[in-house]
């Protein structure tokens, strides 16, 4: 048995536990050392909380935190309403075959990578060739430089994220709607309840435990953004950073482009710590609601 867990445990050690040790870099002035990982960590100079001070004294920390939170809140709530609505709608359709066709169509975006989705967005948003500008042209409206004007991006990003996830989420809700005892509806019908009353008084209350759990789990991850969405869809456009930079993309740029390793590790640690607290809190609440659905 010990032999069976060993390979996996080694993986966890290298890819999950050692990086935890690496977070001390957040408290150091990181200097790359040719001798490798340990040398780089040990030989870098301690600077205490300085990286954090720098991070929070600039506007960056505020912008990335605001963006991360704002987008996630929008995704969670609009996504919840739309996917529950879509699930209820699908459950009401009379023709089974058509409903399956719709579901298959809605599920498609979930299977595509963000790179592909980025290209899709480009086919609509490209300045001189994109479909949106052509449509605007028909109405005699001036072309819009989508990739350099930040004011549209909150809407675009929310739309793209919902486009990719609603089909998938509504399947989760649909599965639990189908699990609801049919006799409840029959009883309601005998009492003369309309379809709308049935949805309001049976379907939604029966769904609420899973809704609460899915939402709380999402809240636990509210400090993490989908890197692909914020990196691929805006095509890494610098003029859009004010509305597209989230903690994850900030950390990545710190590593790869600006070279501010210490500060961006600090941002990563800030994300991990707040994220951890949120996961614990939301899991605690999930346990209160429904013990079986808790993560641990």
């Amino acid at each position: 048995m010990l032999l069976m867990v060993l390979p996996g445990a080694i993986w966890f050690f290298f890819f999950s536990y050692l990086p935890l040790v690496g977070t001390v870099v957040a408290f150091k002035q990181y200097r790359f050392n040719r001798e490798g990982f340990w040398a780089s960590i040990v030989k870098s100079e301690w600077v205490g909380w300085q990286n954090f001070k720098f991070l929070f004294s600039g506007t960056d920390a505020w912008v990335i935190t605001r963006n991360t939170l704002f987008y996630n809140i929008a995704f969670i709530f609009i996504g919840l309403v739309l996917s529950v609505a879509m699930a209820i709608l699908l459950s009401q359709l009379v023709g089974k075959t058509l409903a399956k066709v719709y579901q298959t169509g809605m599920f498609l975006p979930y299977f595509l990578s963000w790179v592909i989705v980025g290209y899709f967005a480009f086919s609509f948003l490209s300045m001189d060739r994109g479909m949106l500008n052509q449509i605007l042209g028909w109405f005699g409206v001036e072309k819009v430089q989508w990739y350099s004007d930040p004011k549209y991006w909150p809407y675009i990003l929310v739309f793209v994220s919902l486009w990719k996830s609603i089909g998938y989420n509504s399947v989760v809700y649909l599965a639990s709607i189908l699990g609801i005892d049919k006799s409840l509806y029959e009883a309601a019908m005998i009492d003369g309840a309309s379809k709308w009353q049935q949805i309001r008084n049976i379907t939604i209350p029966m769904l609420s435990p899973i809704i609460i759990i899915m939402t709380l789990l999402a809240v636990g991850r509210i400090f993490y953004a989908d890197f692909g969405l914020f990196y691929q869809v805006p095509r890494d456009s610098g003029t859009l950073y004010s509305v597209t930079n989230v903690i994850d993309t900030y950390v990545y740029r710190g590593l790869k482009t600006t070279g501010e390793i210490g500060m961006s590790t600090a941002a990563g640690l800030y994300q991990s710590v707040v994220g951890f607290v949120l996961v614990i809190v939301s899991n605690f609440i999930v346990r209160k609601v429904d013990k079986d659905s808790a993560l641990f």
């Binding site: 010990l2 867990v5 966890f12 299977f111 899709f120 709607i177």
Partner: protein, 317 residues
């Protein structure tokens, strides 16, 4: 795929030929409206892909004057011809992606199924320890930069295929799903009987547990196949060598320059004039189509398992 609720068999009353509406269902008018809404949304989900396919078949010059159109004035196969002619880079990327996907999925399944099995067995003494050991990784993570440092500086996997395979291999969440699957689909008695017959742990696992838990393994396998096929992030971090660039990542890199293809093709000595005449936009879209095609064909089959995986994941022991 989950069954859609409510029966829709029209009931026939008192021998009359008129079909009486089943009161489980919404009225025909509402049904039509709901169908239109759902159909429209499904169409919106599929449309961008169709649009990209159309662009890839458009004539490059027409594109320059008209922009992206649903009904282009002139069709052309030029883009695909170009991609296949100068596409050794594309083929190599396909190769890298397929290799990474196959290798990764196998490694991932072996690691996850063994680990999950061990912690699903009540007779395993360190069961609790290793469960917690896995779960902790769902809570704390070092984040991008420390992970990057471990992979590149400690394990020296930068610019190797392992940087694409290993970081995605394990995932505590999949372990939890599979553990649940084992404990619900493999009865304790069967394992006991195997033990009485003198079988060892590995033998029981291979001969009894694995065959019984195939649907669970298939679910996890599909999750990780999709994860590997669609991964571009690890390549973004760890791969600089153009020979090791996977498909998604190549699509990302050619964003601003199609020259990538020529630089990496054998007949790279193209004249500047030839360079300007290549179908840039359409080839890009053609490559997007080629990279997506396997998924488009496979996903209707995947879908069922994904739904299964979703529902299995929701149930705990």
């Amino acid at each position: 795929m989950a069954e859609v609720a409510t029966s829709n068999t029209p009931s026939v009353q008192n021998g009359s030929r008129k079909k009486v509406r089943d009161f489980h269902n919404v009225t025909p008018v509402w049904n039509l409206i709901l169908n239109i809404i759902a159909g429209l949304f499904a169409f919106i989900c599929v449309f961008p892909f169709l649009f990209v396919v159309i662009i890839s078949f458009t004539d490059e010059k027409t594109l320059a004057t008209d922009g992206y159109r649903i009904f282009p004035a002139k069709w052309s196969l030029e883009a695909y011809r170009f991609v296949f002619q100068t596409g050794d880079a594309l083929l190599r990327s396909y190769g890298v992606t397929i290799l990474v996907t196959v290798l990764g999925t196998i490694i991932s399944l072996v690691l996850i199924s063994l680990y999950a099995y061990a912690i699903s067995r009540t007779s395993f003494r360190y069961r609790r320890f290793f469960s917690v050991f896995a779960i902790i990784t769902m809570l704390f993570n070092g984040g991008m930069i420390p992970t990057y440092m471990v992979v590149s500086q400690l394990l020296h996997m930068k610019d190797t295929i392992w940087a694409l395979v290993l970081p995605l291999a394990m995932n505590a969440f999949y372990i939890m799903i599979l553990r649940t699957f084992y404990s619900t689909s493999v009865p304790e008695a069967i394992i006991e009987s195997g033990r009485i017959d003198g079988a060892g742990d590995f033998y029981i696992f291979l001969r009894i547990v694995l065959p019984l838990s195939l649907p669970g393994l298939a679910t996890i396998g599909l999750f990780s196949t999709l994860g590997y096929w669609n991964d571009w992030f690890n390549a973004l971090l760890y791969i600089d060598n153009p020979n090791l660039v996977p498909l998604q990542s190549m699509l990302m890199r050619i964003e601003n320059s199609i020259q990538f293809l020529q630089q990496n093709s054998q007949n790279g000595a193209m004249s500047l004039q030839a360079l300007s005449s290549i179908p840039q936009d359409t080839s890009r879209m053609a490559m997007v189509v080629l990279a997506t095609l396997p998924i488009i064909f496979a996903y209707p089959f995947f879908q069922r398992y994904f739904v299964q995986g979703l529902t299995v994941g929701a149930v705990k022991e």
